[in-house]
Amino acid sequence: MAKPYKQYTEERLDGEIITQCRNGDKHAYRLLIDRYKDTIYSTALRFTRDPSTAEEVTQETFVKAWKYLNRFEGRSKFSTWLISIAVNKAKDMIKDKHRSVNTGDLDTGNETSFFQSHTIEGPEETLMNDELGLKLQRLIDALPALYKEAFVLRHVELLSYEEISGISKISIEAVKMRVFRAREILKKQFYEEDHDG
């Protein structure tokens, strides 16, 4: 049987749910949280490398998104808008933590990577335990913060240069420069390490 009624997009569905939210339907917002909480938590974890901070970022991201939902104009995907809030929230929290504990530079590479310190159950575990993937993750974790942000948003979150430009509040050319530089650092380190041992 033909299935002509399957045609829809996730964005359109988000739009319908957001309309419900704007009418004050809190249950509809619960659906949006359920749809994107893993994405936002994963993003937060990548930037903060700490599960409890990532959890805090996730909560604050959704609370802020609810508060400012009327300002979401639909020019980007809803998920991109959430990621934008989460990345900036994560950066603020990292700054605050550094101020309060005065531990020095975040990007010294001395912190424990999420991927090394946590076990993810299920099929993801196979991926996470893959030796090459872990190696790459360690190198990404050790990138300077600005390069890491640009690279992760481009190649892990799979956002466009334009979207990253909006999130990081820099020009598209500056984003490209950072992404290109991050790629080159990673390529050099990844294959040199491989070559060395």
Partner: protein, 196 residues
């Protein structure tokens, strides 16, 4: 490293530039090696994106934090609107009703639609592969058709098919989405309901 590798990966070379680069790739071993290393690395980054699961009860905690919206200034109007909607549902016996089935957290969803003079009504939706598994509603008399299905919590879309011919959008759904063919699908939200 040759900047064109970045531009090629991002698909930002002009058509002629792309053609020239591809030609050079096939001839220049060093360039090819550099490109393959870089594209392999980026593929690895994309597949090892470590999608983690948020803590189980985070939705409840977020919802708990969000303040209740202030009483709407024309709340009486809202009340009347809700009352009118309930009255319509009661009057026609139509709509979608839910209750939790205590096995595997499936939720019993009862589809009810009033289609006077119809002989058969099927429900086609994303939960039954849009009719690949036919789900016929029972004729309860007086033009009312009903069917109860057990569904997992989630968001579904559906339409009714009347007399194997006419597609009917549920007039009582709370949400709709365009189907891309000029009609609209009803959206059914099956809640994650906690068992008491």
């Amino acid at each position: 490293m040759d900047k064109r590798i970045h531009l090629f990966i991002d698909n930002e070379l002009s058509p002629s530039g792309k053609q020239a680069f591809e030609k050079e790739l096939s001839e220049n071993k060093q360039l090819r090696e550099d490109y393959e290393k870089m594209s392999g690395l980026l593929k690895l980054a994309g597949t090892h994106n470590g999608h983690a699961q948020a803590p189980q009860n985070i939705t409840d905690r977020i919802m708990g934090t969000i303040e209740r919206p202030q009483e709407h200034p024309y709340s009486l109007l809202r009340f009347l609107r809700i009352a009118a909607a309930i009255a319509i549902v009661i009057a026609t016996g139509a709509g979608v009703f839910t209750y939790v089935h205590r096995e595997n957290n499936l939720v019993n969803i009862t589809f009810r639609v009033s289609v006077p003079n119809a002989k058969t009504v099927y429900v086609l939706g994303s939960f039954n592969q849009w009719g690949d598994v036919p789900e016929q509603l029972r004729n309860a008399g007086n033009g009312l058709f009903t069917l109860t299905l057990k569904l997992k919590p989630g968001i579904y879309q559906y339409v009714y098919k009347v007399d194997n011919n006419e597609i009917l959008s549920d007039p009582h759904a709370r949400l709709y989405t365009q189907d891309g063919f000029g009609q609209r699908n009803a959206i059914l939200i099956v809640k994650h309901t906690k068992l008491s």
